[in-house]
Symmetry: C2
Subunit: 406 residues, 2 copies
């Protein structure tokens, strides 16, 4: 457990198997369409049996995938029934991009007997190569036929690219008054996709009742302190998308604050799983900045530390190199007084008031060699805090991303 990551109180959260289909009323499938040259599953469907409120958050990259554009357009009315995902081709920077993204949604809608705008498309994979949409269209009947209340894992498998494991999380969420619902999700995205770039795709499901505005707010809050606070390589994809479908079919749903906690936990655990599976990564690191005047300041400072190549290389080396941490803080573009700054690696305070402590190097090095490394920076001014997750930068990351040649 990394302090500061995810909700602090998980008393009402009970882990469930099953991924996205752990939520009652959802079916999913994952099949082979032939887009991935490897012949692995590459086409996933997640379908709600009843109408669902929907919200999406997509990339801020100016070069935005057509699938993101279409998914946002379809989600604009606040209702959807299904998500269709293809892996192996991002359908970005091609002449036919938006047409193909619409055809992807339409093919799924046709098989499911839905209006096209009830389906959100997502695509991940190579950039600049036309999507072989005919193959996907041809495989769609099979994907629809394979839909199952136990299909969450198949779907989570079919959206992977360079990921080494599926990322699935589900909780039954309860409150003291007997309220209960399920919040579940799946994610992919570990740094890079042949031969293009990282893409984060996340599908979340719940049977909690959330109207359009509320869902949007809850989703933004949860994404803001989870998926938006992870970094594998600092390179934001053209295709990042997080979608939440909420059917509202839970018979006696819990209080909204508990639903929000459940959503926060699902996003936090999926985001952690993405970082842990980061290309070449051997450990996860949580950088917490506390004692800041605002949470925005804390996040910006934590992000500067978590994206520094030198800090991430030091984490790989198990090196409590706090000078690099101070350097990265100083580059963040946030004002602070270095004479008030304390830094701890794990439990070992290595710098106090901007100056080295006489810390035990062996203990500090041990703290940097754990599977989960924590770097804690106290600015000594206010009470705001934020945690950003990253992984170590390894020679394997570079080799992987250099040696793959298109």
């Amino acid at each position: 457990m990394i302090p500061g990551w995810g909700p602090t109180d998980r008393a009402g959260l009970h882990p469930l198997p099953g991924g996205v289909t752990a939520t009652p009323g959802f079916r999913a499938s994952g099949v082979v369409s032939g887009v991935k040259p490897s012949g692995r599953p590459d086409l996933a469907l997640v379908v709600a049996e009843t109408p669902a409120s929907v919200g999406v958050v997509t990339t801020t990259n100016l070069v935005k995938a057509p699938a993101c554009v279409v998914a946002e357009r379809h989600a604009a009315r606040g209702q959807a029934r299904a998500v269709v995902v293809n892996a192996g081709n991002a359908n970005v920077c091609t002449a036919e991009g938006e047409d193909h993204a619409e055809r992807l949604a339409r093919a799924a809608a046709h098989e499911l007997g839905l209006e096209p705008d009830a389906v959100l498309p997502m695509s991940t994979g190579v950039i600049g190569v036309p999507l072989p949409i005919e193959r996907i269209e041809a495989a769609m009947p099979q994907a629809a036929a394979a839909l199952s209340p136990d299909g969450g894992h198949d779907a989570a498998t079919a959206i992977l690219t360079t990921d080494t494991v599926t990322k699935e999380v589900a909780f039954e969420v309860t409150d003291e008054r007997g309220g209960r619902c399920v919040v579940a999700g799946m994610a992919k995205g570990v740094g890079m996709i042949e031969p293009a770039m990282a893409t984060l795709l996340v599908v979340l499901t719940t049977d909690a009742p959330l109207n359009k505005a509320l869902l949007k707010q809850l989703l933004r809050d949860a994404v803001g302190c989870t998926f938006n606070r992870i970094s594998v390589d600092g390179d934001g994809s053209t295709s990042d998308t997080v979608a939440l479908l909420a059917t509202g079919t839970a018979e006696q749903p819990p209080g909204l604050d508990v639903v929000a906690t459940g959503l926060h936990a699902v996003c936090a655990d999926l985001a952690r799983a993405v970082v842990a599976d980061g290309e070449g990564a051997t450990r996860v690191a949580g950088v917490t900045v506390r004692g800041a005047e605002t949470e925005g300041d804390a996040e910006q400072l934590a992000r500067s530390v978590a994206t520094s190549l030198l800090v991430r290389a030091a984490i790989h080396g198990g090196d409590p190199n706090w000078g690099r941490i101070l350097m990265a803080l100083g580059n963040a573009g946030v004002d602070f007084d270095v004479r008030r700054v304390s830094v701890a690696c794990g439990d070992v305070t290595v710098c106090r008031f901007g100056v080295a402590t006489s810390f035990d190097r062996a203990m500090a090095a041990n703290a940097m060699r754990r599977d989960e490394v924590t770097i804690d920076v106290d600015l000594g001014v206010g009470s705001a805090a934020a945690t950003v997750l990253t992984c170590d930068l390894t020679p394997e990351y570079v080799r992987f991303n250099a040696e793959y040649t298109t």
Copy 2:
């Protein structure tokens, strides 16, 4: 030669040997003070025989080295006579920092018979460890005694840390009317210093006559389009410093525009040498963005491409992976129309109007495997351009920065 890097017209520039002491009226030395555990030279002096105009540009990192603070204070009056540099210890984040930086300048001033504020101190090396100032003070008589008009190379050697070669550039600068002067310089800084961080230190000398305001302007202009447009790892040091000393002793100096060209060329060549010697680097890459509305936009976009881990890994792999280039452009925070963007790797246009061309992959891969890689992005809108230099990201970089453990 990387197009767009350095002055386009070098007709009046004539290379000279000798580094900083190629400029008449300067002496330099480099000796062993014992700060570097390796026993290599680590104390350098550069001294003007006559009063010189001086200007310095230092790091924008909020955690600023005391040597930077003191150098700026001493340079504030616009006159100086000497620069003293110690390598092996950055004198940053220590309780005695500013006192030690003053003592470093004072020790040199004492030996040279100067006022302390006529000497600019620079320090580079480990962070958070008190500077062994007594050793430096004890070695200062030897450094002063070793001063020589041929000492440029010794000084350039003594300021190195993880550099593998010295960086020295000098030109005789002439105009058509018989005017002539010398502009010379030395630099260090290749990514990282045991066990702390990259530091760029540059000392420039000239016998051209430049008053305080003019020198400041020329220095800012030259640094702005050279040292401020290179990136080895995106981690800005606490100690970066560029200092220019101008004695004005040239008998018949050339026109100011020619002096400016000479200064630009010295800075461009030194900056290129720093990148070429970047830790683990096997090739230099120039990223040019042209067709922009403003030079600021062009620089910001070029910097985003040049600091992308995925782009730099692709450069290492010789991979014309233009999808990563588009991704990095899209993340730059600058507005542009992707449907107007063309991208060339070397001479091979790989993307036109935001879509793949049917380029020859072998030719494009060859262009990415040269010692000097050029990536040319045309936004197709305005006429502003900027070039940012970087080097490839290699497993060796990560290994080097991970495996050194304090």
